[in-house]
């Protein structure tokens, strides 16, 4: 007779299982929410198809499809991370679902793991779609190591972007969260050079981009294909880490307010 979940004793195996279980349930609930799943999965693919495959910039250079592969990849993990946390969290809190979950023995870490995990799954699906489009429709050729490094760099974006979503979700009410997340999502994508090369922005906006996590992640992804602005890796990592830490501090403050209510 297989043991049933409630007979398991707390421990590492138990935590992993419950985290995976929560991931699966959150994934299924996200999948059943077309307003989340469809744009998250299709927007980056459609944008890429439009800008890199159907109307690539002229000349014999392949740089545009490769550039956009990296940046729309980052865009592709930005959406599930920031929406999943920002809107999803605000929703569950305001509907009382979060309070309910807190009464269960599930550790808080499993909940966070599941949210990040769902964003990573959506991100991975977008990466698969984008990479196939790039490789087989846009003519992008990368060395094997570059394909893996690019996928890794893009997927790593789940962490800083989730932190942004967490900060928004911890503070904004459900309706406000949708607006705030959309604003941050669109503005940061454009100003970070995810939709078109950052070099096309005026100088002061290029400087401003240093304040945006998506810019740093974009540059790290572009570095894999040698199309970045040439700033050192450590600079991007330090700034990205600092920005993520700030988001986490802001989020923690928001949760304390929620708990104390």
């Amino acid at each position: 007779m297989e043991p049933t979940p409630h007979t398991l004793r707390p421990g590492l195996g138990w935590s992993v299982r419950i985290a995976l279980l929560e991931t699966r349930f959150q994934f299924l609930s996200s999948l059943r929410l077309p307003a989340f799943a469809v744009p998250t999965l299709l927007f980056p693919l459609f944008f890429y198809l439009f800008f890199a495959v159907v109307f690539p910039s002229g000349g014999p250079s392949l740089a545009a499809p490769t550039y956009l592969l990296a940046t729309f990849g980052v865009f592709g993990v930005l959406a599930p991370s920031i929406f999943g946390f920002g809107v999803g969290l605000a929703q569950e809190r305001d509907s009382g679902a979060l309070v309910l979950k807190r009464t269960t023995p599930m550790p808080a870490g499993a909940y966070l793991f599941a949210r990040v995990g769902v964003a990573a799954i959506f991100g991975a699906v977008v990466i698969v779609g984008l990479f196939l489009l790039a490789g087989y429709a846009a003519g992008v050729e990368l060395y094997r190591g570059q394909w893996f490094a690019l996928a890794g760099a893009i997927l790593a974006g789940v962490l800083p972007f989730s932190a942004i979503g967490l900060a928004i979700g911890a503070w904004a009410k459900q309706q406000a969260a949708v607006a705030v997340v959309n604003l941050v999502f669109i503005a940061m994508s454009v100003l970070s050079g995810l939709w078109f090369p950052i070099q096309m922005l005026p100088g002061f906006l290029q400087d401003f981009a240093n304040a945006l996590p998506a810019y740093h992640l974009g540059q790290l992804a572009l570095k894999v294909v040698a199309l970045d602005l040439g700033r050192p890796v450590w600079l991007h990592l330090v700034l990205l880490g600092g920005q993520t830490a700030i988001c986490l501090v802001v989020a923690a403050a928001g949760f304390r307010r929620f708990s104390g209510r």
């Binding site: 297989e2 995976l20 392949l62 740089a63 991975a124 990479f131 050729e141 990368l142 394909w147 040698a226």
Partner: protein, 442 residues
């Protein structure tokens, strides 16, 4: 449920593993670039691409560039060029591709042009040679064809006084005795095919000698006559005083830096303002002072790559030594800081220098004089081409002749890598003789 079904939490790790495997599987099946041949084997010709090299384009180093050569000219330089599938490729990773080098001060004879080309010097700006030799070599620079010689541009004969510097080499020289002869002299040089006019102002005093030289009026008249014929006028001086006077006369460039005195910053600014260029020829300045780089260059180069002539001239010493290389270096430093265009030239084959090989030494000396790696390489590529009005060379950009130098490593961080030659192309044809299979000397 008939049979006992595995509970969902049992299946989750399996799903996760399968999903991860599928993800990795997709990454493994994505297209990778066509395999490129590593440099070292036979190099492709006429139509090929060097892919994913660091490119020095004449101004700056740019990482991960492809250079596409078509019919002996550069068709495109860029990132991730869309290359025809059957185009031969050279793997440029770990290598740097530069325009073929230009030595802005040599004197051509013997195997000079072959020696130059073997060392990546694809164009030579000669500052005095037998005009008939220059005329014989001229057609080669007008066509794209397989060759084992660098292209030659030359002043041909030079303007000097009877018995003056330049008359001692056995080449018959038509000398000048006064300003009135200048227009005819320049027209005769132009008729011979001179690409510019070279003037000697050398009284030997820097080297403890007394040599007859042209007077100021004649020098000014030759400069004016050259300009009237739309030719550049460049001048040999070895004294700062003469350089400043020639600058006043409107000379276009200096084929040596003077070694008697260090230029002041104010005077350096005057050079910059006048737009005059300077070819310091530090290689020969060091040799004159008895500090030639010749032995260093010989030591670090495989013996089979060095011709008998290169070995002989690199090992040579000047009979009469003088000048201070420190002063020359400091003058170059100040000229460069003031914004004066500095060009790389060796004055090969003077004692202590060798055709081709010494230009790699000159790049190091220019670094010592304060030029950055890209400025030093620019002084041996784009800048001499522009200063002497030679089109189609000196830069890696669309339409230019495919004169290319491929070196292993990164000359930007270590300029001595310019001599780590992995391949040379002239007019799109590889010059492999010395590097792949050393040729027997004839």
């Amino acid at each position: 449920m008939g049979s006992p079904e595995r509970p969902p939490w049992r299946r989750d790790p399996l799903f996760a593993a399968v999903a991860l495997a599928a993800f990795v599987g997709v990454l493994l099946m994505l297209p990778v670039p066509e395999p490129a041949d590593p440099p070292g084997g036979p190099l492709p010709e006429t139509n090929f691409a060097v892919v994913d090299a660091t490119v020095f384009d004449g101004e700056a180093f740019r990482a991960h560039r492809d250079v596409w050569v078509e019919d002996g000219r550069i068709r495109a330089v860029g990132q991730r060029l869309r290359l025809p599938e059957d185009l031969p490729r050279v793997d440029g990773r770990g290598h740097t591709l530069t325009p073929g080098l230009i030595d802005a001060h040599t004197h051509t004879y013997g195997v000079a042009l072959r020696d130059a080309l073997r060392f990546g010097v694809t164009t030579v700006l000669d500052q005095f040679t037998d005009p008939s030799l220059a005329a014989r070599k001229r057609p080669a620079r007008e066509r794209l064809a397989r060759t084992d010689e660098a292209d030659l541009f030359s002043a041909g004969n030079l303007a000097t006084a009877p018995g003056g510097h330049g008359t001692q080499f056995g080449v018959p020289v038509e000398t000048l005795t006064g300003p009135g002869e200048a227009p005819d002299f320049v027209r005769a040089r132009k008729a011979e095919g001179a690409d510019w006019i070279k003037i000697i102002w050398e009284d030997g005093s820097t080297f403890g000698a007394d040599i007859p030289t042209l007077d100021r009026d004649t020098i000014a008249a030759v400069i004016a006559a050259a300009h009237a014929e739309e030719l550049l006028a460049v001048i040999h001086v070895s004294r700062l005083e003469h350089a400043l006077a020639a600058l006043e006369m409107g000379v276009d460039g200096f084929v040596h830096v003077w070694a008697d005195d260090v230029i002041s910053e104010a005077d350096a600014a005057r050079f910059a303002e006048a737009g005059a260029f300077v070819i310091p020829t530090l290689s020969v300045q060091l040799a004159i002072a008895g500090e030639s780089m010749g032995s260093v260059l010989l030591e670090e180069t495989l013996a089979e790559h060095v011709s008998a002539m290169q070995r002989e001239t690199l090992s040579g010493t000047f009979p009469r030594q003088g000048g201070t290389p420190e002063a020359a270096l400091e003058s170059v430093r100040r000229l460069h800081a003031a914004g004066v265009r500095i060009l790389a030239g060796t004055d090969a084959p003077n004692p202590g220098t060798g055709f081709g090989i010494s230009l790699h030494g000159e790049l190091r000396l220019l670094r010592q004089a304060g030029l950055s790696a890209s400025e030093a390489l620019g002084a041996a590529t784009a800048h001499p081409a522009e200063a002497f009005g030679i089109e189609d060379r000196g830069r890696l950009e669309r339409g230019r002749i495919a004169d290319l130098l491929l070196v292993a490593g990164d000359p930007q961080s270590d300029v001595t890598r310019s001599a780590a030659i992995a391949g040379v192309w002239k007019d799109g044809f590889p010059v492999e003789a010395a590097w792949a299979a050393p040729k027997q000397p004839e």
